[in-house]
Symmetry: none
Subunit: 416 residues, 2 copies
């Protein structure tokens, strides 16, 4: 069963609203074994919706139409659906009565315009909306079906789960969910990751896809298919090739991996941040249960605070705060001040301007731990704007700490 | 000029990634006077992309194709574009040389697969990518044009601004932009904001729209239209009604407003964070030039660090760290330790579990300043998951600081 989504609304094309509904429907239907083949956004215009709907029906067996079912003049989905099916609109008496009841129950006067929500294309069956006033519609067109649902996420989600998913799963002959497993690789370029894994590509079984999703500082290597054992075997092969470059599996982010490794050793970490300005600490605290291994951080954004709160020697700071030894002293300083097992630190130039004669992207990250005499420092030359440089610095600092903590992957556990 | 966006990527249809690019392009082109007529999401499949692209060209004069230009095997946009145009792919020598240079400049070996990024549909002109390695492509098809751009947001945005917008504005015969102006209101519910502004609605001139966009902790009151003077007058009326609830104008975020107010007074702030874990500091550092007023922060996630690094009295902590007096002591402590004019602090329960017998959402934010004897503390009961509670706590803390600094709005300045 091929399913498309057509989302109606000027706000989606003007960029006032991001189409979160599409992603949610995509995830929900994929988990039910019915992946989407197409998504479309179209303005509040009868002719445009009609044309897009007919195109979608040329590529799909079922279309989920979202939005434009409300009572205001820009809600034209009902009219467009009737036009696409070549049928008139008729007023549904039960829907009209239900709307009147809804207002009467709440002691409210019903604005007269509300009743247009009882107009349905001839032949369409109303779908109950347990949350709001706009009913959905189900219209069979020969051997295809269109579900028109409200765009309000809470209403849409209930109706997809109760009305759409069961029908589509039944039509598909029972569920065969699309499974996804992924390896996460920090601080390695997408091309290099792909080169490492190129040997896997010729052997991929039918229906299994290998894809890469790159974001600043991380590449997700994603395997999708329908047989969990095949996917697990491929993931194991990929992990063996990538070795310690693997920074996490599936949904476990780099901060979560670091915290899990620390907790497993009964150890703690504190952070000292300059250019990242709290983002490293915030990334760790994002993980529920972070307090088991993360004790705190000092954001020493000014040089004065690097001395006052982290004991970085003034003589060192006199040469500028963007220096590998400053990063090392910050990591050691926060470890001592906080009494933690590990200290991790960042200093550098986020931009847009030069600082201490150094260009944006010049960054040093450091880790101080219980065994080494000297902190470990990694020197970086990062490209990107202020936000990207800061985000990459967080990833590099966490990845340096991860590598200091030993092997990451839980693959041996999952092999059983 | 009618413009459509076709976004390529399995991840969009599987719901792993939300199509933020579409919303950004929509906003950017609307601001340039060229609103989108269509958005489409399509899987990484040559035939599907080709078919969708031809359909989009039946409804639009120009198509922006995003994603699928990378070096890996699932990057098939180049092949699909060539198929749609009915032309072969050829290797572009200049692009190939530029790729080799990119790796040589960095002292890196070029993985051989990278060179597929130099394959372009015959007749296409490469578009420079100042940020990454994947060039964009511009292909004229009779009197229509297709721009193929990388899906990585930072790369896409630069290329839309430098290559796409100027051409489309010129083709449209000069800009007639849809203007947007907005008032930002922190920590007030959407219905209440709308109720305050209901008196404006009957007077709105034709072509002017008043809309509300609510996100946790902030409501954007958005006025769109084409006459800047009409919009400015309406915004002034709305600001007068909302008074000190207005936390910012247009694109100036709450952290930026706070930093501007501080800089204007020649004052500084330091933060003491518990449940927000660095997110308050990071929000301030997100603003370029933050160092003029933000000196640093102490993230005292454990109770021990609240004592060690912020001098919160142990007797106070013995009763639990989620307490208004702890928030006040943290704000005063970081102000003293950092030597700043102001201290701002957060403590509370982010969840998912109870802490010190208090439920998630119990939060205290505090501000300590130069004049008051006692810190100002705001007690909050917040609803939402861990991330929402933390984000709302940051907003409340910054809003409390903003109100301590006096009037925000630059409206009198803009009246001239």
């Amino acid at each position: 069963v091929r399913v498309a989504v057509v989302a109606v609304g000027d706000e989606l094309l003007l960029g006032h609203v991001v189409n979160q509904n599409l992603a949610w429907i995509g995830r929900t239907l994929a988990a039910a074994g019915v992946p989407l083949v197409r998504g479309v956004e179209v303005p509040d215009d009868v002719d445009a919706i009609r044309s897009v709907l007919l195109q979608a029906l040329s590529a799909a067996d079922a279309v989920v139409l979202t939005g434009g079912l409300g009572p205001t003049s820009d809600d034209v989905t009902r009219a467009a659906l009737a036009a696409a099916a070549g049928v008139p609109l008729r007023r549904d008496r039960e829907l009209a009565a239900a709307l009147a009841d809804w207002y009467a129950d709440r002691g409210l006067r019903m604005p007269p315009g509300v009743l247009v929500q009882a107009d349905v294309p001839d032949g369409a069956r109303p779908l109950p909306n347990p949350v709001g006033t706009a009913a959905g519609l189900r219209l069979q067109m020969a051997d295809q079906v269109v579900y028109a649902l409200p765009g309000v996420p809470a209403e849409l989600r209930q109706m997809v789960e109760t009305s759409v998913v069961p029908e589509l799963v039944a039509a598909a002959g029972g569920p065969a969910p699309v499974l996804t497993t992924q390896l996460r690789v920090a601080v390695m370029g997408e091309s290099l990751v792909a080169e490492h894994l190129s040997a896997l590509e010729p052997d991929l079984p039918d229906g299994v896809h290998l894809s890469y999703l790159a974001s600043p500082g991380e590449v997700l290597v994603r395997l999708t298919g329908r047989d969990p054992r095949v996917l697990a075997g491929l993931r194991e092969r990929a992990a063996a090739v990538l070795g310690e470059a693997v920074s996490g599996l599936d949904e476990e982010t780099l901060p979560a991996t670091v915290l899990r490794l620390l907790s497993g050793r009964g150890e703690t970490v504190a952070a000292a941040e300059s250019l990242t300005g709290g983002a490293l600490a915030a990334a760790l605290v994002d993980v529920p249960g972070a307090s088991s291994a993360f004790v705190g951080a000092v954001v020493a954004y000014s040089s004065e605070l690097k001395e006052r709160l982290l004991d970085v020697p003034p003589a060192l700071l006199a040469g500028g705060a963007v220096h590998p030894d400053v990063a090392g002293a910050m990591a050691a300083g926060v470890r001592r001040r906080a009494g933690s097992t590990w200290g991790v630190a960042t200093t550098g130039v986020a931009g847009p301007d030069h600082q201490d004669g150094q260009p944006p992207g010049t960054v040093f990250v450091a880790v101080a731990g219980p065994r080494a005499d000297q902190p470990t420092v990694r020197a970086l030359t990062l490209r990107g704007d202020r936000a990207v440089v800061r985000s990459l610095s967080v990833t590099h600092a966490l990845d340096l700490l991860r590598r200091s903590l030993g092997a990451v992957a839980r693959i041996p556990e999952q092999r059983t």
